[in-house]
Symmetry: C2
Subunit: 342 residues, 2 copies
């Protein structure tokens, strides 16, 4: 197993953090929702939509009783890494309100370092209305609030320079400030001899910002996470093999999730298929990609073979889709112990 990267792979200073995630700081509002209600709201099943407060109120009024739980894509990945015994830290932006406190509490309570900004004015802490349909598909409606204003000034530079991998969430790409923050974070990481990972997050988000994503992936990213649809969107094709051929040329290491077919890991000279784990009850696919990334990165920072990294990713994803809620409920380190020794 080998792969090359455009960035320096070794640093003079050992990393004190395994992965530092940068992404949206959101509290999820989850409700089991019949297909008819989702259709009546004109929500595309499986999509992530950015909504303003009016639209959020409309959707919330139509949703059933809900539970609230901390979420956010990169934050969920950091939660998975902590559950796998890795040293994870998260940076994001919240208001000093109830949901902001909930978000930071839930991270620190599970052993993820909180290196985010808590601000005392501006929009409220972001939230995400998640409608889980009977077939376990999730449709997300995100009010970004305070989270969307993350910019370079919110970055925790010392932590970025101390983390073996900086992990960036594509969802934040909807604002120029956040894109600037990602370029600065990537530069900081590479200057310190660290690696940069990116998850494409969402097909529609990639389509909205294809050029900016291509620039980031081709110039700054060492490790790319995407699902089939997102990778095809990035290369503006419907042919997954063509998309894989493109990403192989431009990115040293990519992990592409394929739903029930598991994942494929792509380097310059390898293409490794990793079958999905068996899932006894599929309840809610929220967080599947996030947990795959967590498992994969947990293996990578331990220098495991890429096939094993993919297997840990699939184990973590299988756990999260077997219950309602975006973060692991079981101890992932125990579930993955045959592949990831403690």
């Amino acid at each position: 197993m080998s792969f090359t990267t455009s960035a320096p792979l070794s640093s003079s200073t050992p990393a004190t953090i395994d992965v530092l995630g940068i992404g949206n700081a959101l509290v999820d509002v989850l409700s089991l929702t019949p297909d008819e209600v989702i259709a009546s709201l004109s929500i595309a099943k499986g999509s992530m939509n950015l909504v303003e407060e009016d639209r959020m109120a409309e959707i919330y009024a139509a949703m059933g009783a809900a539970t609230e739980a901390s979420g956010g894509s990169a934050a969920n990945t950091m939660a998975g890494l902590a559950s796998l015994g890795a040293r994870a830290v998260f940076t994001g932006r919240v208001r000093d309100d109830v949901l902001g406190k909930v978000f930071a509490h839930d991270l620190t309570a599970i052993g993820v370092g909180w290196a985010g900004s808590t601000v005392s004015d501006g929009p409220a802490t972001g939230c995400c209305l998640i409608l889980v349909s009977p077939d376990a598909e999730r449709s997300m409606n995100t009010f970004l609030g305070a989270s969307s204003l993350l910019g370079p000034e919110d970055l925790a530079f010392a932590e970025i320079a101390s983390a073996a991998i900086v992990y960036l969430e594509g969802y934040l790409f909807d604002r120029d400030d956040a894109q600037a923050a990602y370029r600065v974070a990537s530069h900081t990481a590479h200057s310190a001899g660290r690696r940069v990972a990116l998850t494409l997050s969402d097909t529609f988000c990639v389509e909205r910002h294809r050029e900016a994503f291509l620039d980031l992936v081709h110039s700054h990213v060492d490790i790319l996470f995407a699902n089939e649809g997102e990778l095809c969107a990035l290369y503006d094709t419907t042919d997954i093999d063509a998309a894989i051929a493109s990403v192989r040329e431009h990115c040293p290491l990519s992990a592409v999730t394929l739903g029930e077919h598991g994942a494929v890991i792509v380097t310059a000279d390898e293409e490794i298929r990793v079958p999905a784990e068996h899932v006894t009850q599929l309840l809610d696919t929220t967080g599947a990609g996030d947990q795959f990334a967590a498992g994969f990165l947990a293996g990578l920072v331990r220098d495991l073979p890429l096939a094993d990294c993919g297997r840990i990713g699939n184990i973590a994803a299988a756990e999260v889709i077997s219950h309602i809620g975006p973060r692991p409920q079981a101890d992932l380190a125990t579930l993955a112990q045959s592949v990831l020794p403690r």
Copy 2:
């Protein structure tokens, strides 16, 4: 089956609401918590403690990652009644903040009428930190906030007069204003020819306010709900048979829950034992008493025999203790259909 009551049992106007609940409006913060953490916080397992903001912050900091879900004892009972197809309305007091919106949303979303007060100043919406230990016992730490200021001026008098049964939550007894509200509500209900139900809620709460509870039970209450400990606390005895003998003299109808032994229903001339339902997985006892009351009342407003009312109560309680969270997740009307025809 028969029982007598000191209040008029029939009204000239048919009830348009089956049960109107008055109680604390709280959002629960639930976390699975090891016994050692509960002990280190000096929390008595199984108790309900009223806490100020400092103590709440201390407990929250020691709790693991949590999920938030609407709770409140009487509100949970109204949720159970709605799930059983009964017409339920709730009155309580919240601030116009995020948790206040969550609370009202979750009630209306499940078909419970919201006839509460939403205020624009004063303490925040109340919340309850619930530590669920591995043996499924819950220890509750309640910051009452806006909820505790409920007084007679917050009552929905038209709804009280229109409800066949007004259901009062004992937890609110810690403030004189709320006690006054209960007396006014009872008077309004009786004047309209309706019945008044009370749940004792908590042993410690009963001990703090024994005289006031005795006065309410003996002068105003037609239907009393209690568990063994609470009924013994009310009559300051450790002998449950003595406590049952006392309540029989003073209250027309009592339903006493006995945990795994089910419930006993006590009238002037009857004592009916109702065995507990079989529970395949016991996960979280939060809300067991609330759901027993919901099932019992759902039968009572349909004039079912008292033994059947108790059975519906046990069915509803069995559902809620088989998952995390204080409100039904399954459709109780379906679970109870053999006893409670649609």
